[in-house]
Structure formats: structure tokens, C-alpha cells
């Protein structure tokens, strides 16, 4: 059973357009791995119709956190929910990042852009518990788009921030910052989540330097559990290439698996 129709919101924080909710769900908390996601029913009315997929941002013994940006009707309505409200959620869904003991003592990078930082906090904590030395690269358009920087700092993560407008940290894209820093060290693995163009660039220079990389992909989803075939990505696996469901086989895929979308002319 992957359904929890009684997940209570027990905490809520917000920064402008960004929200962090804690949801009480002992079952999902006990099963979740970094990179997995949940599907949230926004309304019990027919509009908006579909659940919204959100990655698991962190977990406690009995609760999980989600971190999201208001980007449409679904997330807008979700942002208006209050502490004490009950959410109907499915999860944990999908396959998460690969990490574990093999990264003990190794340098690893977790690079997130905007709301794409969401799954990387859970991942970074898990990697560190396995002994990995995690460097967080966190980029946004402006200072207000990197609201979780204090949270990473409090946890004593090695934090590298960038803003497109230079209002905080490195001025420019997080990809440029990461590329500069990779002149100084070579991580054993790069994990990333964010806009597709950002992840595509990271995939390119990770490949050049032979660094294994994993990416968490975003998509509109109809169901989240593999029945509608609505959320596909071009994936190469075992010598075959085809449309693979992000919700079921992903959302995390490795560099070698992903066939990135060509830029439109």
C-alpha cells in the first residue's frame, strides 16, 4: 500500500514564493529514499484534477518534508494549506539516487537549481551518514531564490551558492561556478536536480571529466505510479533506446542513460 490519505501538515515555513511543509506520515518516512517523490492530491473537487509530484526533501522518524515553489494553480492552492490540514498522498514513489557506503571518504557534489534543490538535502544527509564528503552547489536567479542556504549552513555542509544577478555568492549560473571549482578537485560523483538546461550542461562536463553523474528529472505526471505513460523521457538502457516512464523507472537516471532533448532552433 503506497497511499496515505491522512497525512497531516504539522509544520509550514515560507520564503516569498517558496514553501516547506512537514507532513506526518510514519509509513512513508520509514520507507523513503533520497530521490523518491510523493503525489499530492490538491483538491477533492474536479479542478485541478491531477495530483502534483513533489520530491521528498527530508525525513524524520514520523514525518517527511516537501519543498516547493509556487509555479501554477496546483502549487498555489497547496501553498494555501494550513498546519493541521490533512493531505491525501501517494508514496514513496519512483527510484531514488544511488549512493551508499561505496562513497565513504569520497568527495561528492550535489548541484541544485531553484526548486531543484528539494531532493538534494535528503540526499546530502544520507550521503554524509555513509561517510561521503558532500559539497552543495546551490544556484538561483536571485538571493530570494536560494532560501535554503541557511539550512545547509546550519548542517555544516560545504556550501557554494550562485545567483544569476550576483545578489549573493558567485555571479552567474551554478553550472559556471561548478565548472570553475572542478578545476580544483574531482568528485567521485555528481548528483543534480534543476532545470533541464542546467542538468544537461553538468552532464556534458561530467562526461568530459569522466565523473559519474545522476540526475533527477521533472515532468508533468498523470498518475505517478506507472499506468498513464504520460511522463516519459528518452532513455538508453541495455543497448535499447525508448520512451521510459520517469515516475516508475526514474525520476533519477544516470548520465549515460539520458538522451537529452536537442535545443530547438
Amino acid at each position: 500500500m503506497i497511499k496515505d490519505s491522512q497525512a497531516r501538515i504539522i509544520d509550514k515555513k515560507s520564503w516569498n514564493n517558496y514553501y516547506l511543509f512537514s507532513l506526518e506520515s510514519p509509513r512513508i518516512a520509514s520507507q523513503a529514499h533520497p530521490g523518491q517523490f510523493i503525489m499530492i492530491r490538491i483538491s477533492h473537487h474536479p479542478h485541478p484534477l491531477l495530483r502534483r509530484p513533489l520530491s521528498i526533501h527530508s525525513k524524520d522518524e514520523k514525518s517527511i518534508d516537501i519543498f516547493f515553489q509556487v509555479s501554477g494553480l496546483g502549487t498555489d492552492l497547496l501553498s494555501q494549506k494550513k498546519v493541521g490540514d490533512i493531505l491525501d498522498i501517494l508514496g514513496p514513489l519512483g527510484k531514488g539516487f544511488h549512493g551508499g557506503a561505496s562513497l565513504n571518504g569520497k568527495d561528492v557534489v550535489a548541484a541544485g537549481g531553484g526548486r531543484g534543490i528539494a531532493p538534494l538535502y535528503f540526499l546530502a544527509k544520507e550521503l554524509r551518514s555513509h561517510g561521503a564528503l558532500v559539497k552543495i552547489f546551490y544556484g538561483g536567479k536571485s538571493l530570494e531564490d536560494i532560501p535554503l542556504k541557511e539550512k545547509f549552513k546550519r548542517e555544516n555542509f560545504d556550501l557554494y551558492c550562485s545567483t544569476d544577478d550576483g545578489s549573493f555568492g558567485f555571479k552567474g549560473f551554478i553550472t559556471e561556478y561548478l565548472k570553475t571549482e572542478l578545476e580544483k578537485f574531482t568528485p567521485s560523483r555528481i548528483f543534480s536536480c534543476g532545470p533541464e538546461e542546467m542538468m544537461k550542461k553538468i552532464a556534458q562536463f561530467a562526461a568530459k571529466k569522466n565523473i559519474p553523474a545522476e540526475f533527477s528529472l521533472e515532468s508533468v505526471m498523470g498518475c505517478g505510479f506507472g499506468v498513464c505513460w504520460g511522463c516519459v523521457k528518452r532513455i538508453k538502457k541495455n543497448g535499447e533506446e525508448g520512451w521510459v516512464k520517469i515516475c516508475e523507472e526514474g525520476p533519477v537516471f544516470s548520465s549515460e542513460e539520458i538522451v537529452w532533448t536537442e535545443e530547438e532552433k
Binding site: M1, I2, K3, R41, P46, H47, P48, L49, L50, R51, D88, L90, S219, V220, M221, G222, C223, F225, G226, V227, C228, W229, G230, C231, V232, K233, G242, W243
Partner: protein
């Protein structure tokens, strides 16, 4: 005890709730959520003879109270279905209906030919809304003659009952319904999705790569109720209603209008327990209203006086 069973003539269903093709995978995906034995039936995802790659993403756009999809019938093909999926599916005590697709009339017939050798299938549902490669991509469902030709060809090869799933994208759906009946259809299911478009105002491009998608969900229910109404008075064969059923009340509207069963589609994506909740809702309605057999409410719409 309320009797929810429905007799379609060629098959008896436990209840009028059937999971609709394309929204229920191959059925087994829902076993973690619900007891599949409780369902009236399951229509598995559309099968072409060979595996199908499907369309490029994006494949989905949410609309007001609806969903536009352009999945493109990605699927595993008959061989894999028969070898890997059907053996598990036939263990359940519910009617297994296979949605049959084809790029031309002969492909529909060959899918049915192949599946006829397999046990555990109750009926076929012909998806005649597939683009026909020999007719400029026009699907058979749009014309009474092409509907007649594919249905009669499949009826010749099939040893099982054939339900014909109609498209709403026609001027007079009753005309197509009559044509399918004349060609030997055992039942009709209506409808498939409505052709629809979504536009990205920033890029001024269609959201879906092939421009068109198919609209489903609560947005279409009033339109489909109207179509079922127009068809049930004209045909003798049973009609199955499909479109925007989220609750028992929605299902009841179809039954009262004259559908003998319904298919639940998009609702499965939002709530994987939707079918079972609707079945429970039907029982509750019958008990509350002193109805012993749900069949007794089919086609009982009280029309205003002076109307036929």
C-alpha cells in the same frame, strides 16, 4: 443484499463498473491498491500487434476539470501481453477485456486472431479511433462505412464478443453506432477522448508536439451523457458509458440515461481506489433508495411530458 450484477447478454458482470483502457495499465499495477476481484471488469491498455513506441513528450496537459493526453498508445504488443501479463491477470475473477488497436483493418483482425488462442479474455473492445496509415491517418471511427468495414472484418475472425468503442469527434454518433451494430458489434462503448488543443501563450506554440490531444475527465461528462442518450434510443445492443466518472453519482447518471455499464478512466489516475469506492457508492445508493437490483434503474430517466 443489493444485487449489482449486470447482464450484457454476452457476459454477466459482477457490477457495472469497468476500469477503462489507458488509465488502468494492464490491470496488475492496481493490485497494491485494490482487490481487482471486486471490479465488474478491466479493459487493459490498447494493444497493437507489435510493441509501440508512443509519442514524444510532453504527452499530458491539464485542462479545466480535465486532462488532455497524447500518449500515442505506447504499449507492449500482443506477444508480451499474452506471455507475461495475461497469465497473472486471468487469476482474478473479473471480466478481462482487451482493447484492440490497429494501423489498418487487418491489424485489428490479427490482434484478435492471436488473442483468440489465449484463455481468460471475456471480450474485445475495438479502439477504432486509431489513425489508419493507409487512409491519411484518418481513424475508422469517423465514418459509418470505415466503421462497418473494420467491425465486420474483426467479427469474422473473433470467437469472442466484440465491443466497439466510438469516437465523439463525429457529427452524428448514432449513425456510427448503427453502422457498428449492423456490422455485428455485440456492444458499444462511448466514448473515446475528445480532440483538443492547448496553447502556450509565451511561445505561441501548441503544448503538445502533434498539436492535438484527447480530452478526458469530468469536463466531458455532460457531452458524453448527451451522446449516450442519443445512442441508446436507436440501438438494440448494450451501451457502456465512458467519460468523466469520478463518483457513484456520475456512474448513476449514465445508468439512468440507459447505459448498461460504465467505464471509469481518468479517475484511476487521481485516486487508484476510485473504482472500488464507486462500487461501494452504488451499493449505498441502492440501499438508501430501496433498490434490490441495480439493473432496475437502467434507462429509467423520467423525460419531461411531451418529449419522446
Amino acid at each position: 443484499m443489493t444485487d449489482l450484477s449486470i447482464d450484457l447478454g454476452f457476459i454477466k458482470l459482477k457490477n457495472p463498473i469497468i476500469a477503462s483502457s489507458g488509465t488502468f495499465g494492464y490491470g496488475l499495477e492496481f493490485a497494491p491498491f485494490i482487490d481487482l476481484n471486486k471490479l465488474g471488469g478491466i479493459v487493459v491498455k490498447g494493444l497493437y500487434f507489435s510493441p509501440r513506441p508512443g509519442n514524444s513528450p510532453p504527452r499530458l496537459v491539464e485542462a479545466s476539470s480535465g486532462l488532455i493526453n497524447a500518449v500515442g498508445l505506447q504499449g507492449v504488443g500482443v506477444k508480451k501481453f499474452s506471455e507475461e501479463i495475461l497469465p497473472q491477470l486471468r487469476k482474478y475473477s473479473t471480466a478481462i477485456i482487451v482493447n484492440v488497436c490497429g494501423e489498418k483493418d487487418e491489424e485489428y483482425a490479427s490482434v484478435v486472431d492471436f488473442l483468440d488462442k489465449e484463455e481468460g479474455i471475456s471480450a474485445y473492445e475495438l479502439n477504432i479511433s486509431c489513425p489508419n496509415v493507409e487512409k491519411n491517418g484518418v481513424c475508422p471511427a469517423l465514418d459509418p462505412e470505415t466503421t462497418f468495414s473494420v467491425v465486420s472484418l474483426v467479427k469474422k475472425s473473433s470467437s469472442r464478443p466484440v465491443i466497439v468503442k466510438l469516437s465523439p469527434n463525429v457529427t452524428d454518433i448514432a449513425e456510427i453506432a448503427l453502422s457498428a451494430q449492423e456490422a455485428g458489434a455485440d456492444a458499444l462503448s462511448l466514448v473515446n477522448t475528445f480532440l483538443a488543443i492547448a496553447v502556450d501563450v509565451e511561445t505561441r506554440k501548441p503544448v503538445l508536439p502533434k498539436v492535438f490531444g484527447g480530452l478526458s475527465g469530468p469536463a466531458i461528462k455532460p457531452l458524453v451523457l448527451r451522446m449516450v442518450y442519443q445512442v441508446v434510443s436507436r440501438v438494440k445492443i448494450p451501451v457502456i458509458g465512458i467519460g468523466g466518472i469520478l463518483s457513484a453519482k456520475d456512474a448513476l447518471e449514465y445508468l439512468i440515461i440507459g447505459a448498461r455499464a460504465v467505464e471509469v478512466g481518468t479517475a484511476n489516475l487521481i485516486d487508484p481506489e476510485a473504482t472500488v469506492k464507486i462500487i461501494d457508492g452504488l451499493t449505498e445508493y441502492c440501499q438508501k433508495n430501496g433498490i434490490d437490483k441495480i439493473e432496475s434503474i437502467i434507462g429509467t430517466l423520467k423525460k419531461p411530458q411531451g418529449l419522446d
